[in-house]
């Protein structure tokens, strides 16, 4: 039984998107991506080292023909910086599906929603398909969708914090209100965090640090794959109702 999800007309089987930052080396990074089953990885756009152009690069280890590169604007604090970065990314990669994040401050890396919304409008008008990192605010999510976001990516907790989903209610409200895919982006620390996001009905989860900073990143990548699958299956299965008091699992009739 297939359970694909679709973003901007492109279908994927894996609901786990992984970052490619903070790994010990490219080989470990590639092994973690393989173990995670991810079909999409986020990448950053940076200056080439013109003094030493022969250094190994990410593309030598993770083949963009097999794994979709999702260029991200991490490190951009204004709409203009983010737009400039993604124009370069489109030229470097040749594709329009991008991840937009416009940060508000270094301490929390919380999104600057005014700049994020403005960048979404500009990018959408230029033909980009932006998946947008945002606050866990259902109204902001609606506004992003109206501005052309092809996916809504609310944070579960601050980037790199590993604190897990801090507000399940708002994530669920975003899921219920959105016509485009919703993926929790940032804040996942453990497999159970990823499962919670999926049980809430999210279409996917994006993570980097939870895998890269695990003691055994490749094993954690596999754990996250299983957790995302388990959470998704649990969501589709439909959870039992909660009740205040106990309800015995064994029949009362026939007790000796």
């Amino acid at each position: 039984m297939s359970d694909n999800w679709t973003v901007a007309g492109r279908s994927f089987t894996s609901r786990l998107i992984v970052g490619t930052g903070k790994y010990k080396d490219f080989a470990q990074n590639a092994a973690a991506v393989e173990a995670s089953g991810a079909e999409i990885v986020t990448v950053a756009v940076r200056r080439v080292n013109i003094s030493d152009p022969s250094q190994p690069v990410l593309m030598d280890y993770i083949d963009p023909k097999k794994i979709t590169y999702l260029p991200n604007t991490a490190g951009c604090f204004t709409a203009d910086e983010a737009i400039r970065t993604l124009r370069l990314a489109r030229e470097a990669g040749g594709w329009d599906l991008v991840k937009l994040e416009v940060l508000g401050e270094a301490r929390t890396l919380y999104p600057n929603m005014r700049e994020t919304l403005r960048a979404t409008e500009v990018l959408s008008n230029e033909g980009f398909l932006p998946m947008v990192y945002c606050t866990d605010d259902p109204i902001a999510a609606q506004q992003l969708e109206e501005a052309g976001a092809v996916a809504i990516m609310p944070l579960g907790a601050p980037i790199g914090s590993g604190l897990g989903l801090q507000n399940r209610v708002t994530i669920r409200l975003i899921v219920e209100g959105a016509k485009v895919p919703v993926l929790v982006d940032a804040g996942v620390g453990t497999p159970s965090d990823a499962a919670v996001a999926m049980e809430l009905g999210c279409d996917g989860v994006l993570m980097n640090t939870a895998i890269a900073e695990a003691k055994d990143p490749v094993r954690m990548a596999r754990a996250m794959k299983l957790a995302v699958e388990a959470g998704r299956e649990g969501y589709l299965a439909g959870r039992m109702a909660k009740r205040m008091y106990a309800d015995p699992s064994s029949p009362l009739a026939g007790l000796i």
């Binding site: 970052g19 490619t20 930052g21 903070k22 790994y23 490219f26 990074n29 986020t42 990448v43 950053a44 756009v45 940076r46 200056r47 080439v48 013109i50 003094s51 152009p53 022969s54 690069v57 990410l58 593309m59 963009p64 590169y69 260029p71 991200n72 991490a74 400039r84 124009r87 370069l88 990314a89 489109r90 030229e91 470097a92 990669g93 980037i159 790199g160 980097n208 640090t209």
Partner: protein
């Protein structure tokens, strides 16, 4: 001293001299980069990859040459 047969340009913040008459594709190649793996911005404007071989470098040009690196 500006030599008449070379141009002064800035690439990723570094000053460099290139031969007069060079195209951007030649500039990228001389640095040792694969043009299919980078994107080039010239004076804040994207240079489409299809035109790298036909656009000539001008004295004083500022280039940004970027590629994909690991990130979250």
């Amino acid at each position: 001293m500006t030599q008449p047969d070379t141009l002064q340009v800035r690439i990723n913040g570094e000053q460099r001299r290139v031969a007069a008459g060079s195209t951007i594709a030649q500039l990228v190649g001389e640095i040792g980069l694969d043009p299919s793996r980078v994107a080039v911005e010239r004076n804040l404007e994207i240079v489409p990859r299809s035109t790298l071989a036909s656009v000539a470098v001008a004295d004083g040009d500022a280039f940004e040459i970027v590629h994909f690196v690991g990130g979250g």
